[in-house]
């Protein structure tokens, strides 16, 4: 039965791709039906596992292929961790797909790629399930690469948008850097243990088959894969750009699939990481650095989806930190709760974008009255992310912090607390900017000075970031490029956007503000709208929000220490549960509430006029430019990659081509010399023939074996 879980979405993918380009709604129903059955099977598996004794696992294997001593198998392997992941993946995936039936329809017009979208979603889910069900490195890697491919396809779903196409490539190539390490790590594992199976490898490591130094190297290499896939520092740069994809895709990538793969892999190989303390420390510190580093980004982003994107990076760092310090239960618990509330937040932001057509929070505001369901569910998600009792994030975050402190990693614990504070601040900054106050479609940045003699404001550099500065609307863009002909309003809105983007890149002061104004007004067109024209989304979109909100509220209790942490016992198979650290929990809760109050006083209390954080000056600019990391990478590519390429090009032109030319030259010279023997005179040829025969006869007479 279990094999049906990935097989059904795969079947849906094949069916939709082959037969169901039209009618498009049918494609969505097929896809949703497939994932729903998968979800039911997963849920049944989970319940079976919960009623089974500790150490429960189900495993069935089909031989895939054999090369020499290498046997590769396809498996459906489920234990506590796998069962939880199955349910999370299928549930979130199902809700996202239901949501997409609303999101991918704009004003009664379906996206032309509607059925393609659902076929990709199905393939994406199938890949992730394949990965979750792996009992060996080979299948893990196959699923791993497939989710990478699907994220490429989905981030670049609106491939006619250059930003989306670039973001897709960036996502694919950046994660590929990590995948290289991952692949080498897998080959190391195979070289040492002659097996791909997790069980065999764990056995081998326990019997010290791998020298400790090499084990550390191998585990760090494997972790490289997770750094890429789960967007850890320094390979996190692709994730915020991946926001160019449709919002349901962002929700899926950030909650259930792509980025969860890295964390899941580390959790799955937890015993191996435990055997290599140095590698585990690397995991913990990369996680910690990522958590706090990404959280600072979240503070200054203007695009609502980017706030959430950096939030995801930060939370993934949290999970890695937990796994690194030995908190398997804590890390996977946070992975689970995060999947629910982050999916909720993303779908909520999608609802905002769908309803208002605006992504820049400075132009939003006052949506609470127009989109009550979105508002309340977003509030639930924000509370969960901020770690407020009794929402899901509170329990998992507390679990992580206490495992950091219990393991003696006080520095990481402090990093975690600071991150938690910033998290609460930025998510409520986003919440208040979006939902409270009045709509600000005509907002003008007061820090952009007018007049030629105005001092050049520092802030302009920050706003020159075209992504942060332009209220970008995928749907409006879409309508403008692909809508019915003769829709001048939409086209006009699009033009205004393009102008705004180019002006911002030029960092001109006056032009910049004027164009920005134009961008905001551009939203008044026929299809593009503004926050003041927002409307609540339809039931296909609000239903998943409500379901996810319920989960985000209550799912935390399954990991409550007071109840003996049933989640942790189920996932780790251990019976001992740690009690709650009330001082820590209470302290972080108070900090979170302070942060929320702070965010309210800056963004929720009065009318929003200017960003208070700009008072930080250069620091603000630095963070808004993402610590210049993208610029650094561009520079590095320019200097190292292109420089190295030029060396290689010289080598190719002179050495490789030279050898080839030399071979050609030698052949020609020899040919010239030999052709001189071709006199054209028959007697010469005849003499040669006769001479040859004479030699043969001579040899045969003297050396032939006489019988």
């Amino acid at each position: 039965m279990l094999w049906l879980v990935p097989a059904l979405p795969l079947l849906a993918f094949v069916l939709i791709t082959a037969f169901l380009r039209r009618p498009q709604m049918l494609a969505a129903y097929v896809s949703i039906l497939a994932i729903a059955i998968s979800f039911v099977i997963s849920l049944a598996t989970l319940f079976r596992g919960m009623s089974a004794p500790a150490g429960w696992r189900v495993e069935s294997i089909v031989p895939f292929f054999t090369i020499g001593p290498m046997r590769v198998e396809l498996s459906t392997f489920v234990d506590g961790l796998g069962a939880v992941m199955l349910v999370v993946v299928t549930l979130v995936s199902m809700l996202v797909q239901i949501y997409s039936t609303g999101y991918m329809v704009e004003h009664g017009e379906m996206d032309p790629g509607f059925s393609r979208f659902f076929s990709y979603l199905s393939l994406f889910t199938c890949s992730m399930l394949l990965l979750v069900l792996a009992n060996n490195f080979f299948q893990l890697f196959v699923g791993w690469e497939l989710v990478g491919l699907c994220s490429y396809l989905l981030v670049g779903f609106w491939y006619f948008k250059p930003e989306a196409a670039d973001a897709a490539k960036k996502a694919f190539i950046t994660t590929r850097f990590g995948d290289l390490g991952f692949l080498i790590g897998i080959l190391f594992v195979f070289a040492f243990t002659q097996s791909f199976s997790f069980a065999d490898v764990t056995e081998a490591v326990k019997s010290n088959a791998i020298p400790p130094t090499w084990l550390t190297v191998t585990m760090v290499l494997l972790f490289c894969g997770a750094i890429g896939k789960s967007a850890q520092f320094p390979l996190h740069v692709w994730l915020p750009d991946a926001m160019e994809g449709p919002t349901p895709v962002s929700a899926l990538i950030h909650a259930a699939t792509m980025v969860a793969a890295g964390v899941y892999m580390v959790a799955r190989l937890f015993e191996l990481f435990e055997s290599a303390p140095t590698a585990a420390a690397v995991v913990a510190w990369i996680g910690g650095i990522t958590a706090i580093f990404a959280a600072t980004h979240g503070l200054v982003m203007r695009d609502i989806k980017r706030v959430l994107a950096y939030s995801t990076v930060s939370q993934l760092g949290y999970m890695m930190m937990a796994l690194g310090v030995g908190g398997l239960a804590a890390g996977t618990f946070h992975l689970t709760t995060h999947a629910f509330f982050k999916a909720l937040l993303f779908l909520g932001s999608g609802s905002v974008i769908h309803g208002s057509g605006v992504q820049d929070m400075f132009f939003l505001g006052g949506l609470g009255r127009r989109m009550p369901i979105t508002k309340w569910t977003f509030l639930v998600g924000s509370l969960a992310l901020a770690g407020v009792f009794p929402f899901a994030g509170f329990w998992s975050k507390d679990d992580i912090l206490s495992s950091a402190f219990n393991s003696g990693n006080y520095a990481l614990g402090v990093i975690g607390i600071v991150t938690a504070f910033m998290t609460a601040f930025y998510i409520f900054r986003a919440y208040f900017l979006t939902f409270s106050g009045e709509p600000r479609p005509d907002w003008v940045d007061p820090d952009v000075f007018h007049g030629a003699d105005a001092p050049k404001p520092m802030i302009d550099v920050a706003h020159a970031d075209p992504v942060a500065a332009v209220a970008y609307e995928p749907n409006a863009y879409y309508a403008a490029t692909h809508g019915p002909a003769g829709d001048p309003h939409a086209a006009h809105a699009e033009l205004a956007h393009a102008e705004a983007a180019s002006a911002h890149q030029g960092a001109g002061t006056e032009a910049s503000s004027a164009a920005e104004h134009g961008a905001a007004h551009g939203g008044h067109g026929h299809l593009a709208r503004g926050a003041h024209l927002a409307h609540e989304s339809g039931p296909a979109m609000t239903l998943p929000l409500v379901v996810l909100a319920i989960f985000a509220t209550f799912v935390g209790f399954v990991g409550a220490p007071q109840a003996g942490n049933p989640f942790g016992r189920f996932v780790t198979g251990e019976t001992a549960a740690e009690g709650m650290n009330y001082a820590l929990a209470g302290g972080t809760l108070i900090l979170a509430l302070i942060a929320i109050f702070w965010a309210w006083s800056w963004y929720g209390r009065g009318a929003f006029v200017r960003e208070p954080l700009t008072a930080l000056g250069p620091v603000y600019v630095m963070v808004a430019r993402r610590y210049y990391l993208d610029d650094l990478y561009n520079w590095m590519i320019g200097v190292f990659i292109l420089g190295f390429s030029q060396v290689l090009a010289w080598f190719d032109k002179n050495v490789v081509d030279g050898v080839v030319n030399l071979v050609g030259w030698i052949t020609r010279v020899i040919g010239d010399a030999i052709s001189r023997t071709e006199t054209g005179r028959e007697p010469n040829y005849a003499l040669a023939v006769f001479g040859g025969i004479a030699v043969i006869v001579f040899v045969l007479l003297n050396y032939a074996v006489v019988r």
Partner: protein
């Protein structure tokens, strides 16, 4: 009394063959070369027939070993055919080039 044995025939054959070879390699006139080649054929025929006459029959074969004689007949046949083709070629060359001297027929070089 001198008995004519196999050796004599073979020496005769060798002498005729060598004369033919010398002619084929050194003469310039294509017709002469053709005649020299005929000499070589006939030298071979002498050797075939002589050997056929003098070698003892093998077990299970007829009392006289005939395969050498049969071969000689084949060579005569083939030589006739060869001569006709070669003469036709020479004739064609002569019509085209007004010469049969092979020194002037060196188109087949590089």
């Amino acid at each position: 009394m001198l008995t004519i044995g196999l050796t004599h025939y073979l020496v005769l054959s060798a002498i005729v063959f060598t004369i033919g070879l010398y002619g084929a390699l050194s003469k310039r006139n294509a017709v002469v070369i053709l005649m020299s080649i005929e000499l070589m054929f006939n030298a071979v025929n002498i050797a075939f027939v002589a050997v056929s006459r003098f070698l003892p029959p093998t077990a299970g074969s007829p009392p006289i070993n005939l395969s050498g004689q049969v071969f000689a007949l084949f060579v005569i046949t083939v030589a006739a055919a060869e001569a006709s083709v070669a003469l036709a070629i020479i004739l064609a060359i002569y019509r085209a080039r007004k010469t049969v001297s092979i020194d002037d027929l060196n188109l087949m070089k590089w």
